[in-house]
Symmetry: C2
Subunit: 486 residues, 2 copies
């Protein structure tokens, strides 16, 4: 790809001025149009430090209105918040709908640098490239525009620059080193670009030798892509999942008769909570993060189970994230954004009370997500979870299961209890009517996302006490296993 | 205050169980009621490490629904993000309307610990206590409920605890030290509590000797205050400001005839941008943060001035925050919250395109804030700005001034320019009708908040070029002065 790049003659100053004036008007108009779209634009300006990334971004900010563009620039990974998965930093900075986010020293350049510095090996790089493909596809599938520019300096221009400063105070020995490694680096970049070039996220390789020409080529390329994106149709729907065979719903395999006696429960509960406290203290000391996602029908006992977990812990070590209707800012982002934001640093715990699985449960059943959106979500969720577990996060997904009769009993009992009455609304009764649709969605969710790295914990919750002990048990066992494997 | 604390007999287990059961129902009901309020509840559980703060919080979380309570626990200041003003960490974690935020190792306890460890001296402590008073008053004035509990262990209980573990593995030499310094510490705490006790944020000193009694006393006190707060009337309006004498509007002192020739401008602009780049690089290296707030009428040239500033800088070193209508999450917090969130770390720069002054401009003129709210805001803003400058932030507030004719001329010219047409709407014309009200609000704003630590830079902006150079000049001069003073 590097060989096919534009190598035409440098530009004259007059040509530059004329082209820049025209481009500026066009870019400002496009920026206004895109500000009304319900999706964001993501611009990656990649390449090595000598290829003029900074200057190109500053020129773009002079042409566009910089107030509605956020430049996200990252330091070397070791000086970043390394206690979270690699992609966490890029996810949290994603622009919201109608905005432009420019990424500098982003995922691809950083991966190249890490590889060239021997910080990651071949296998790690291959895995990283696959994650990059998934990440970019996820954003593009959701409707975001992804523009990726790779600025490349020719070897001769590089030599010339080093030559020019060799006996001046601007001389930097790193430039010499880069020149020495030019061929090896170019080979790596070539491979990385090929592997991460995709129809929805193509690379635009631009020659960085001439400053003015470079700016115009990048600007025109960005304008063209935004214009195309603004005019384009919405993506076509993906193929539908095969219909579920309702005779073999995975929920039927859960033994709802399991229970426990009150006396046994009380002794066990104290013991388990003590164990949990110890294992979580160890996890904190060893820097192991834990993420629990609680799913289950209304009144399945999520809140009660969570309370037994957290009150055994030091308040500084965990955070509960109750997941409800998205806020307006959340709604203006990719649906996974609000979950990425809450991923704990190493040694801490986040408990999601309902989770990203809402995409394939309530959003599917109530029609808040289009068919192709929730069908795509299974793979997106698996990619997300894989990134967490690859980073060393202990990820535990609970489905607390009760049957429809038990739910009704609990609704009625809540209505009789003064301090629980407000938990029951007409909507809860309405949701019961969709029980069959939810059963199908739950079956699909479990079968589609039950992976070796993030299996579902299916908890019979007809007996609350039994379910609470099982939840405690599961967290203890999984976290202990992760600690033992260190 | 410590002497007046409850020292009654320890509780029996049966009494505890009965009291806890009753309290739990009441607290859950209150939690449901407060979840529908448009303001948050802030609970401080303070005291030293041996007084049972953790246990008390865990008991509260067992009684309440922990999913709608966030416990904000802070480490020692030196391990926190020390690159920002002290109160930044507490502001960013403020609960939103309808939620409960519990603070552990918060502003008051931390100040006591810092003083006892000789990290801050008498004068610093006095200043800190004054900031605490302002901070708590600001929250309470805005309608939040502030509950402050100080858990205090008696000397005898402390001695007993140390005695009990002295020859066991639980022994911690720090406890011995705390015991040795008990009297000095008690004296400091006494002073700090007295100085930070206020009608809107009173301290509730609770004896921490007996675990069960302590929990019940704290729980009942919290329930009582929430109940009182839920029933209470809104706060009465503050006294009105004296009317402005329109003959002496401060805006009339700005010389709008100031301008600059095009040739001079272009040379100067390049020179100033180069200077700015150098001084900001130094500021970055020396860890000096810069905050610029841009205010001015529509079309006063804020965007153009900001573009000349930022495109001279490295994209990683600044962030532009355009301030528009608050999002729903921002609206559910104190109005200063969204600005605190964006305060840069040492060595970085934040540019606010419109700012916290919206409270006393658009919110006042359009009636979005009640009279007592915007009148109170002058002092709140001064407290906020004082905290920034005390921390070493260079704070620059620009008023870009044009007259009404110039504005009209610019509106008309924008309508003629393809890529600026969208900037002009009917609302812009409607806003012009309120010019006299805005003039009065601007006069009050400038005279009320022009302080020695954060003076206003009043920029004649009738000539755009002149204004841009003045803006660059002001940032260079102020930042250089801060660097020279290091």
């Amino acid at each position: 790809m590097l060989k096919t790049m534009n190598l035409s003659q440098p530009m004259s100053k007059a040509d530059y001025k004329a082209a820049a004036a025209k481009l500026r008007v066009e870019l400002l108009q496009l920026q206004f149009q895109l500000s009304r779209r319900d999706k964001p634009v993501i611009i990656v300006i990649a390449g090595d430090d000598r290829s003029g990334r900074h200057e190109t971004i500053n020129t773009l900010l002079e042409w566009l209105d910089p107030r509605f563009i956020r430049v996200n620039a990252y330091g070397p990974v070791e000086t970043q918040d390394d206690a979270k998965p690699f992609f966490w930093r890029y996810w949290k900075d994603l622009p919201e709908a109608g905005n432009v986010g420019v990424y500098l020293r982003e995922w691809t350049s950083t991966s190249v640098v890490q590889f060239l510095n021997d910080e990651i090996d071949d296998a790690h790089l291959a895995r990283r490239l696959s994650t990059i493909r998934h990440f970019e596809k996820t954003l593009s599938d959701d409707g975001a525009l992804l523009i990726k520019v790779w600025l490349h300096l020719s070897k001769s221009a590089h030599q010339e620059r080093v030559q020019k400063v060799r006996n001046t105070p601007f001389y930097d020995p790193k430039d010499e080193l880069a020149l020495k490694n030019f061929d090896k680096a170019t080979q790596t970049i070539e491979t990385v670009l090929e592997e991460t070039d995709a129809p929805h996220a193509p690379w635009h390789v631009v020659n960085g030798d001439d400053e003015m020409q470079r700016a115009i080529v990048v600007g025109e390329s960005i304008a063209k892509q935004i214009r195309y994106w603004l005019d384009r149709e919405k993506p076509a729907a993906a193929a539908a999942l095969p219909p579920t065979d309702s005779h073999t719903n995975v929920l039927d395999q859960i033994d709802l008769s399991l229970g426990i006696k009150k006396e046994v429960y009380e002794t066990e509960l104290d013991a388990k909570r003590q164990q949990l406290r110890e294992v979580m203290t160890q996890a904190h000391e060893k820097g192991v993060a834990v993420v629990c996602a609680f799913e289950g029908a209304d009144a399945a006992g999520k809140g009660g189970a969570i309370r037994r977990v957290v009150t055994a812990l030091d308040a500084g070590l965990y955070r509960i994230v109750p997941v409800a209707k998205p806020t307006d800012v959340e709604y203006a982002h990719h649906y996974l954004w609000r979950f990425w934001k809450h991923i704990p640093a190493n040694g801490l715990m986040t408990i999601f009370d309902r989770s990203w699985y809402g995409r394939v449960l309530v959003e599917r059943v109530e029609g808040f997500a289009a068919t192709h959106e929730w069908q795509r979500a299974y793979q997106e969720i698996k990619d997300f979870e894989r990134q967490l577990t690859d980073h060393g996060v202990v990820l535990i997904k609970f489905w607390l299961h009760i049957d429809q009769d038990e739910q009704l009993k609990r609704f009625k009992s809540r209505e009789q209890t003064a301090h629980k009455k407000h938990k029951i609304t007409d909507e809860d009764y309405r949701n019961r009517e969709k029980w069959p649709e939810y059963r199908e969605a739950i079956h699909d969710m479990i079968t589609q996302t039950d992976t070796s790295y993030a299996p579902w914990a299916l908890i019979p919750a007809q007996d609350k006490k039994y379910a609470r002990l099982e939840v405690l048990n599961t967290i203890i066992t999984k976290t202990q296993a992760a600690l033992d494997a260190l």
